[in-house]
């Protein structure tokens, strides 16, 4: 007969509690646990740093590409869609998206220089005089 007990979220609660308990571990204890679990603590720590750095590098690459084309991208304007992040150039409206897992970029903003950039630069130069 089927177990009719409500198991909704039991496992999630348990795993979340385990996650929280990790944050309270001392430096020595967490290294010892990782080691006892069969992994190399230094290797795993650097692997985690690499995950963060690679993510940083991917987004930097996207911004650099757009800046090289003279597009104006509002950092607050990124929206998370189903397949990745989307944004548009504030000057010309060209669309751009990138897929976090691969860093792949798509969109018309990558086709070439911002077509309305000239007007902005002239206005800016005049304003600074």
């Amino acid at each position: 007969m089927a177990d009719k007990t409500n198991h909704d979220g039991n496992l999630e609660r348990f795993m979340n509690q385990l996650g929280d308990s990790v944050l309270a571990l001392s430096d020595g204890n967490i290294r010892a646990e990782v080691s006892e679990a069969g992994a190399d603590p230094d290797g795993e720590a650097e692997r985690t740093r690499t995950v963060l750095r690679e993510a940083l590098k991917r987004l930097e690459n996207v911004n650099k590409h757009l800046s090289n084309f003279g597009h104006t991208i509002n950092s607050n304007g990124w929206h998370r869609g189903r397949s990745g992040y989307h944004n548009a150039c504030a000057t010309c409206g060209s669309f751009v998206s990138f897929i976090p897992a691969t860093g792949e970029m798509r969109g018309e903003a990558l086709d070439g220089r911002c077509p309305r950039r000239d007007e902005c630069t002239v206005r800016r130069r005049e304003a600074s005089r």
């Binding site: 999630e12 385990l18 795993e44 720590a45 911002c114």
Partner: protein
């Protein structure tokens, strides 16, 4: 721009600048209350504008009107959280005999500072250029980001990147391990809602949402510096896991072949009959129950761990579990450790997640 090209090409390398020993530099700080910036800008209106933007972003700003003063301040007060240098900043004001950098302008000062301290965050301001790729730079500073926008957006984005980069470099190995394990347990807690994503995806997503800096929790989580970077990432991970879980519940999609079924008389039942409700679908509950039993089965020979595990699954607090099962603090901690180890070992022998 011809004069700039010729200046870069004809200016000799900077052997006359003796690099400082990195160890002589004061320690970097990523503490929110002590964010510092060096602004090297010759144009008074731009200097005032950038000073305001930086101060608004929480930086204590030191000002230099020329590269000579910029280098002096960097030597005496550096490193800074960020050094902002105008591409066109003059080499010096006046005609000092002991000028340390007689021929360099902004981009060369950037190269000198990078040489002195390769990890110093630098931004070159080149507002007269249409595209960052148009800004002539020697190869050694080609990787330094260029600000071409007068608005706050690009500057804010570059500052955020520099701060996050520093924070990542500053994470200790135990903090990194904490983040990894925290993300691993969260992913396991998501079960099918993780949709094949692992702890690396969760951590990456937390960083992206930090960097895009949006103010709302759906699209981004700006790091406000009132908490440590680890605490911030933990919060982002929690938020993302919760969004993934919600999306899974709202958007679960199935193949028609998974949904259609027949009774003994060959009658098809339509997926339309499956009306969404607030409780989990039966198949999902069954999968969760099976996984729950599998985890409980790991501790059949460890009664204390089993008691603790049941308590955690019920959502009891530590004190409640200790009181219900008569566990002392030490025994509780030891049992929790055994549980973590066993669950982790299972994953280390298996997949990435």
């Amino acid at each position: 721009m011809g004069h700039l090209f010729s200046l870069i090409e004809t200016t000799p390398p900077s052997p006359q600048i003796e690099p400082l020993e990195p160890t002589l530099l004061p320690p970097s700080s990523i503490n929110a209350s002590s964010k510092s910036a060096l602004l090297v800008e010759g144009n008074e209106s731009l200097l005032s504008c950038f000073r305001q933007l930086l101060e608004k972003a929480g930086y204590a700003v030191r000002l230099a009107p020329d590269t000579e003063e910029g280098l002096r301040l960097f030597r005496e007060c550096g490193p800074f959280n960020v050094v902002l240098i105008n591409y066109y900043v003059p080499e010096k004001k006046g005609t000092g005999i002991n000028c340390l950098i007689p021929q360099i302008h902004g981009v060369r000062l950037a190269a000198v500072i990078r040489d002195m301290n390769p990890s110093q965050g630098i931004i070159i301001v080149a507002l007269d250029y249409q595209c960052a790729s148009d800004v002539p730079r020697p190869a050694e500073v080609a990787q330094i980001p260029v600000l071409i926008e007068t608005g706050n957006g690009q500057l804010r984005s570059l500052l955020e990147k520099i701060e996050v980069d520093r924070a990542i470099k500053g994470l200790t190995s135990s903090e990194l391990l904490q983040l990894q394990l925290f993300a691993k347990f969260r992913i396991r807690g998501l079960g099918r809602a993780a949709r094949g994503r692992d702890w690396e995806d969760l951590l990456e997503e937390a960083l992206y949402r930090t960097l895009i800096g949006a103010e709302d929790t759906q699209n981004g989580r700006h790091w406000n510096r009132r908490v440590s970077f680890v605490q911030h990432l933990k919060g982002a991970i929690l938020s993302i896991a919760s969004v993934w879980k919600r999306q899974f519940k709202e958007e679960s999609t199935y193949l028609m072949s998974e949904l259609l079924f027949h009774d003994a008389e060959g009658q098809d039942y339509s997926p339309i009959d499956n009306v969404a409700s607030s409780s989990s679908p039966a198949d999902q509950r069954l999968i969760e129950k099976k996984e729950e039993d599998r985890v409980l089965g790991l501790f059949n020979d460890d009664s204390e761990a089993l008691q603790l595990l049941r308590g955690l699954m019920e959502g009891l607090r530590k004190t409640e579990i200790m009181s219900r099962y008569g566990l002392e603090e030490k025994k509780y901690a030891a049992a929790l450790r055994r549980i973590r180890l066993k669950v982790l070992s299972q994953r280390n022998n298996g997949s990435r997640g």
